[in-house]
Point group: C3
Chain length 337, copies 3
């Protein structure tokens, strides 16, 4: 894929500072770029890298253009504009319509003629695969699941049952959607399984990371709204609801019926108890644990940074006897009066 | 599936307060129920929802029956009774005996005629698949593994080698049982792998969540006793032993040779070091870290709840200089005497 | 496999204290060994177990030989020597060259004649499978991936795209390598995906645990150097680099562009933010969170051990009002002068 800077400027609404005939054939970082590549500057701290880049062009804000040693596409949001151009220059592999001879499609399933079903994939009863959708090798689409137009299930993904996925979604390998929620009632004979009969609904333009798991609802559905971005190895329990455009980094987990607002950010290894509500625009820092509802946007944290173990162990010992300190101060205050 | 309230009362040993001919065709929550559905009340706080429900019947304790606007099945443990009835009304999909043409079964494996082997499944050398057992699409049963009667391996599960699973177990998609334990000996040439030659034994009535991993033992077996419930993305290292009826929520992990008692509860993202023993009836709260043996039943915790970052950062800064506080108080006490 | 002690002594460079004709047919722990088995003593605390063992021979240091009730192989590093002998007595299953009839290999892929491709495996465009390499049932090797000589991908592993694996590597079931990094640019229309066009490079003699995920680089590669050992359910974000012979226990995660040195040890459930550098020989304890670069070898920690909840909750309450303590001490000091 080759495209001229002039064409890119028109398509992405940028002013161009440079030769419109310059051909671009890919993207790269400022430091690794070679001629023919497009790079970007979003963080002014990287201006020294900008000055030294060998890229043929960069996307940046107008005020940073003076430092570019090459052509520049001017954009208010250089990172987003760069991402859009990068998508054009490095598109996902094309979908090759058809069902591979080594795939198995149940007779009651409906696969549109423009969809691609790869070798070793299995499409179950009453499943529906949309236009231009892709099902990768070894992926399993269980009964009554729906995959929207232009959505992709990569290799070894499993949709268990009653999972409805919107359009233009991307589900990475090994992810499991629609597994039973963790519902058990204690009895004199041990745990009794509570049947999990709800489904999973995934909005449009959602991306779900490798080996992430999203359980079905116990009675209603587990819901991931449009535009949500989920990283690898995350867990979503039954009846969780994640608001539109929220982004969730790796190894984060949500217990049952946690309701999360729109445009929230969860850093890695964070988590939330169940049956709480988190408002829009909350940001949870790494390893953070949410134990009650959040009603105000802002940043929330609950973890300590690592220190040399000797220092940390002393800190822990001090924290553990902090109650003695309260008592001693109280005694001092008594004498002080 | 439709069944009368009178029949349910007889089968589940409940007193019935209402018309025994009322037909029930499914279960629902109090708030979402429509006529024909059965719901339940276990937590008296939800009495307002009970009063407003449109369900045809509810399972509840005798003392709560006065608030039911519909028929009532009276039970000492309404949640467990509801779960049992829900299982009857919403049974798992039936097992269709036979080996799919697109499955591969090794010539030395034994698959009982009543078992179902799905498309894309692989049954390896000397594996044994019990009566009415189910092996889902893409699931792999490695050499010398045994799957007990009525047990189910869902899609893309892997039993690596020497994994013995009891009866009526349910293993969710992507789970891996029998992977090598993490055993390495440091040498001058780097790590030397310690062969992991033990197996995995899973008792009857165990449920294991999606993408959970259970390693084989180094020499003996890794053991999960009967009735244990394990959620998604949990990790069990070599030679761990989990006692009967313990329940373990998502993303929890156990290091090698950790021995856990019966009826313990582990909340999400908790973990335990290896080579320790946890007694029966211990409860570990979310993100809790067990660093030494627990000998007394009860609740154990070690994590902080999230706070607004500004407040939290001040707290962290204060904790880090807590030693200065001890010194200052000591100095004050010296002067005080 | 049976081998004489005399032969083992010669092959592994040990002095032998006992009958060289003693036949050894396997390894075992000190407590579970029966005649014919070889065990080892590395930790002198287990000397009572050594004295009571029924093993035919043990590997141990010369100074511990006096306590052995059986033959002894003397070694400076008994655990590593035992591991090497155990590998010989319990070798991995042999590779049976050939492509199973139920495997699918793309016409542009290259599979060496000595490699084994199992049932249900898929080898994609331009992929290369090395000499004596093994691809397990249901494993997927995507476009432009390379698997080195003698390396093994176990069941249901996925190599997504542009993943290069060295020689003698072992990748456990369900692991995903080469999934897209988590790169998103916020725009007025929500997240814009930043295409992830880098690859993954895995050095020789690397072991990767079950259901672990390693993302491709955004532009350059994500790199795992030779001899690294990774446990189950770990996460490696885009452009992470892990130095040679580092070992990483289960459920640990690294955010984007984290650079980790050689011979580091990460205990379970630990994690690191991105864009930092950790020097060689750093040790991170369980649940530890690294938030900034580490420049000195040593042990680092940041988590609290669990305590009875009542005690812990009081501790948390005290920590949360620690600022009041600082104020009170300040007031006392003021009066004290």
């Amino acid at each position: 894929m080759r495209i001229s800077l002039g064409e890119l400027a028109i398509r992405y609404g940028c002013d161009l500072d440079g030769d419109p005939d310059t051909a671009i054939d890919g993207v790269s970082s400022l430091t690794e770029a070679i001629p023919g590549k497009l790079s970007f500057l979003a963080n002014p701290k990287l201006t020294p890298q900008l000055k030294a880049t060998r890229a043929s062009a960069v996307v940046l804000r107008a005020e940073d253009a003076q430092h570019a040693p090459c052509a520049a596409l001017l954009a208010d949001n250089p990172y987003a504009t760069f991402a859009r151009i990068a998508q054009e220059l490095h598109p996902p592999p094309p979908v090759s319509p058809g069902i591979h001879a080594a795939a198995v499609v149940h007779e009651t399933a409906h696969v549109t003629p423009t969809a691609e079903i790869s070798a070793g994939a299995y499409i179950g009863e009453r499943a529906v695969i949309g236009e231009h959708a892709y099902v990768g090798p070894g992926a399993v689409v269980g009964p009554a699941c729906r995959l929207g137009d232009h959505s992709r299930l990569l290799a070894n993904v499993t949709l268990v049952r009653a999972v409805a996925i919107g359009q233009r979604c991307l589900i990475h390998p090994g992810a499991v959607l629609g597994s039973d929620g963790f519902g058990n009632a204690m009895s004199e004979d041990g745990w009794v399984k509570v049947p999990q009969i709800g489904g999973v609904r995934i909005g449009d333009d959602v991306e779900i990371g490798a080996n992430t798991t999203i359980d079905c609802g116990t009675l209603g559905d587990t819901i991931i709204e449009e535009g949500v971005r989920i990283d690898n190895l995350c867990h979503f329990a039954h009846n969780v609801r994640i608001g539109a455009h929220t982004a969730i980094a790796a190894q984060t987990g949500f217990a049952g019926s946690a309701i999360v607002g729109k445009r929230c950010l969860f850093a890695g290894q964070s988590g939330s108890v169940g049956h709480i509500t988190i408002c829009d625009d909350a940001i949870i820092s790494g390893k953070g644990m949410i134990t009650k509802s959040i009603t105000k946007p802002g940043v929330y944290a609950s973890s300590f940074p690592s220190e040399p173990a000797k220092k940390w162990n002393r800190l822990v010992a001090n924290v553990r006897r902090i109650d003695t300190l309260f008592e001693r101060v109280k005694a001092l205050e008594k004498n002080d009066t």
